[in-house]
Symmetry: C2
Subunit: 250 residues, 2 copies
C-alpha cells in the first residue's frame, strides 16, 4: 500500500455528531476525591452493555472544592458555591443528567437542585430505594459512613422513609472507622485494613443489621460482597448502574 | 503542640474556591475510547505529587465522535466538527489547557487549534521531544501505531524534525498488529497477546530501532519497559506527566 497517496481532506462527509438517538449526556460533579471520580467513571464504562453503547459523559473533577467534612463540622468553608458552579458548568457544557459520586457531599445537594433544572440522580435515594426494592422485609440496615454523613443524617432520613432503622457503629468504633478511612486515602489497602473493615461490618450485624451499606466511596475498595454473610449495598455501584439506565432511557 | 487548643472555626474566609494559585484547569478531549480516557485521567492523578496538589480537570468523554480510523481511510465521516465542539465546550467550561489522549486523533488537531486559543498539548510533539531530549544520539525509532497514525505520518514527520528515522512494521506484521489491537479492545490482555506484541517490538529492534514508541494507547496495556531490551516510549504517560507539569507551572 502506498500511503503517501492518501489525501484525507477530500470526500469525507461533515457530520457534527453521530449521537442521533435520545440518550442523555451524563454530567459528573467530581473531584471528591479524584480517585473516587475515576473509579465511578470506570464503573459507568463497565456498566455500559457494549462498545457501541458508550455514553457521552462530561466530568468536572474539581478537587479545589472545600472539603465537605470540616464544612459539616463547622470548622471549614462550605463547598456550596463550588458545587453550584460545577453544576452550572456541566449544564452549560450540555449535561442532561447530573450525579455526584460522594455520599457525604449530598448534604450540599441544594447547591445543585436549587440552581439548575437538570435532573439530579441522588446516590442516597438510589441506594435506599435499591434496599427497599430488593430486600423488602428488612427492618434494620447497618451503615458504614464518615462522620459528616452520619451528622447530616442523610441515610437515617432516607431509610426512615422506607421504615428501615439505621444501625451505626458505636462512638469508639466510628472513631476507629474514620482513622481507617484516612489510612486508605493515604496509603491504599492491605490485609490488616480489610480485616478491620470486616470487623466493623460484623459488629453492625451483631447489632441486628440485615444489610451493610457501603455509604462511603472508600468502603468498596476494601470490602466485597463475598467478605460478608449479609448483603453489601454498594452505593457507588448502584449510582453507576442507575446513571447508565437513566441516560439510555433518553 | 497541643492541637486541642487550636480553634479553626473562626477566621475562615468564605471562599468560592480554594484555587488561589496560578494552576491551570486541564481540559481532556476524550472518549477515543472511554477506557483510554479513564486510563489517562488515572495517570494525571498518579502523577500529581501530593493529595493537596490535585488539579482541576474537565473531561469531555464523547464516544459519539466518528471513529478517526475509517475517517482517515476515507470510508467514514470526519470527527473534525465533533472535536471542534468538544474543544469549545471545554474552553467555555473553563479549561485553560487542552489535551487529547489518542495519538491517531491528532490527525484532526486543526479542529482544536484553529478554533480555540486555549493552548493544546500535542501527544506526538511531546513524545518525540522526549526522545530527542533523553536519547539525543538516536537515529532510528521503532513505531507501534495503528494504520491511521501511519497513513497520516504523524510520528514520521515529527521524528524527521529531530532527524530521527521512523521504523515501522512490514505490511504483513502491521496487519497482524491491527488484529491484535482490535483483540485487546474487545477482550483485554492475556499472555499470548503479550508475547505477540513483544515479537513486534523485537522485529523493529532487529531492523535497527533504538527505542520503541507506544504510539497507540492500547500498547502500554500489554507492553512495559521491562519487556524490552531497548527503551519503551510511552506517549500516554509522557502526555500525562507534561500535562501535570504545564498545569502546575500556571
Amino acid at each position: 500500500m502506498d500511503i503517501s497517496s492518501i489525501d484525507i481532506s477530500t470526500n469525507i462527509p461533515e457530520t457534527m455528531e453521530t449521537d442521533t438517538n435520545n440518550e442523555k449526556t451524563i454530567g459528573i460533579i467530581g473531584g471528591l476525591g479524584p480517585e473516587a471520580t475515576a473509579d465511578f467513571f470506570n464503573r459507568i464504562i463497565r456498566n455500559t452493555p457494549t462498545e457501541k453503547d458508550h455514553l457521552h459523559v462530561i466530568i468536572d473533577n474539581n478537587p479545589k472544592a472545600p472539603n465537605r467534612n470540616p464544612a459539616i463540622a463547622g470548622t471549614g468553608p462550605s463547598p456550596f458555591e463550588s458545587f453550584k458552579q460545577s453544576a452550572l458548568r456541566l449544564k452549560q457544557a450540555g449535561a442532561e443528567l447530573l450525579v455526584m459520586p460522594c455520599n457525604t457531599a449530598h448534604a450540599f445537594k441544594d447547591a445543585i437542585i436549587h440552581n439548575v433544572d437538570t435532573p439530579f440522580i441522588d446516590i442516597v435515594e438510589e441506594a435506599t430505594a435499591h434496599i427497599a426494592k430488593h430486600y423488602p422485609t428488612i427492618e434494620k440496615a447497618g451503615l458504614l459512613a464518615v462522620d459528616g454523613c452520619l451528622q447530616t443524617r442523610l441515610y437515617h432520613n432516607a431509610l426512615a422513609g422506607w421504615e428501615i432503622e439505621t444501625q451505626c457503629l458505636d462512638t469508639r468504633a466510628q472513631h476507629d472507622f474514620m482513622e481507617l478511612i484516612y489510612q486508605i486515602k493515604a496509603s491504599g489497602v492491605n490485609a490488616d485494613i480489610k480485616q478491620t473493615m470486616m470487623s466493623f461490618a460484623r459488629s453492625l450485624e451483631d447489632n441486628g443489621a440485615e444489610v451493610i451499606i457501603a455509604g462511603c466511596t472508600e468502603v468498596p475498595l476494601v470490602l466485597s460482597p463475598k467478605d460478608l454473610s449479609i448483603p453489601l449495598i454498594d452505593s457507588t455501584e448502584i449510582l453507576a448502574t442507575q446513571c447508565v439506565r437513566y441516560a439510555r432511557q433518553g
